[in-house]
Amino acid sequence: MLEFKLTQENYSLVSSKIPLILSLNIVENIALIKEVHIGLSVDKAEGIAKESLEKIGLLDIALMSIDKCSDLEIFYVMFIRALMMNRGTILVESPYLILEEIINIEILDELNQDKDIIILDTFENETKYEDYRCNIIR
């Protein structure tokens, strides 16, 4: 049986309840976390953000404002932002509240090297997770 204990200190949340900052562009939204938490310079933090975007072929949206991006692009950016936090788990909450397209799990794997990903969703979206290799907790 899979056991986990989540406290606010050990997971980063990806949710429509915590959106991207509208006044910042995509790369600034991602870089903000490392600039604040480890005092990384703007250039270095944005460099790391751009590397992550490049890995999944989204470098072209790096300097775009949020309203120019699709929902799926915004979701991946929120996921990258969560990766920037120094926490062991990424908790994705009801992604299909903001998405119509199916999330490509390979893209998430490409980005994530060492963190656990937990997706919380309702049964009505069960079919959207059919191709996932991971356990589904009912």
Binding site: S12, L13, S23, E35, V36, S41
Partner: protein, 262 residues
């Protein structure tokens, strides 16, 4: 009827006192963060640079134009009146007191308030409504450090620098008027002004500009960060912020006049 009237006055008085207490508390917390070196990180500095650019650089052409237009007109009136009342020998101290102590910081404060304070109030209220403040909290980004401090510092820097610029433009306009009305040459004008300027005038300009810059930012930020639950709350938040701001600006101006007259 009378009881209701008295109760309504009491409600308003309690709300006013609570609101005043809250804003003083918010100001105190902001000052504590301001003097804490740990509050300054690259993200905060980036916001500071952007904010200074938006508050003082983008406003420059409009500001210089208004300073030349209004500044010249007002300094002209002052010089004409001084000539009429045979106060030519006091013209230096009249210009210095009027321009440096009073008009430059006050007019600059009004312009920055109209240009930036409304923008900042709206920006904070929209961030609040869009749950962007929740994002900052979730990602452990201190709202005071990231949102408040850069704007406060930029307000003070912009207010001081634009007040000095405004004073310089008005003093230049003053020379043009003294040249035409009094046939005064540049050397005499320069001598009169430099003799009239005292340390007290410069300190007054700096202190008033710092106070104006501080309130021009802290009041709209506070107003915007207060709970905004729906779109219709945004105009109310801006209106409330602007009313409080203009009352505070006039209060500072009156207070400075009282202190100077002592």
């Amino acid at each position: 009827m009378i009881v209701r009237f008295i109760e309504s006055i009491g409600d308003k008085a309690i709300n006013f006192i609570l609101s005043f207490y809250e804003i003083i508390r918010f100001t105190f917390i902001s000052i504590v963060h301001l003097i804490n070196p740990n509050s300054y990180n690259p993200a905060m500095r980036m916001v500071l640079v952007k904010q200074i650019y938006h508050t003082s650089v983008t406003i420059l052409p409009f500001f210089i134009m208004l300073a030349i237009f209004f500044g010249s007109a007002i300094i002209g009136v002052v010089i004409v009146l001084a000539t009429q009342y045979n106060l030519q020998y006091e013209i230096g101290s009249i210009i210095v007191t009027f321009v440096i102590d009073e008009f430059a910081p006050f007019f600059t404060a009004l312009l920055i308030s109209l240009r930036s304070a409304t923008t900042i109030n709206t920006e904070m209220a929209v961030m609040n409504l869009n749950k962007e403040l929740d994002t900052l909290k979730e990602y452990k980004i201190d709202i005071i450090n990231y949102l408040v401090l850069p704007r406060l510092i930029s307000g003070v820097i912009s207010s001081v620098s634009l007040s000095i610029l405004f004073a310089l433009i008005m003093l230049t306009s003053g020379y043009i008027f003294t040249l035409f009305y009094m046939n005064m040459d540049l050397h005499t004008y320069k001598y009169l002004i430099l003799n009239a300027i005292m340390v007290q005038d410069v300190v007054t300009l700096l202190l008033k500009s710092i106070a104006f810059g501080f309130v021009i930012m802290i009041i709209p930020i506070y107003s915007g960060l207060k709970s905004v639950n729906k779109n219709a709350d945004i105009p109310k938040s801006i209106l409330s912020g602007m009313v409080k701001l203009f009352i505070t600006i006039f209060f500072i101006e009156v207070l400075s006049l009282i202190i100077q007259s002592l």
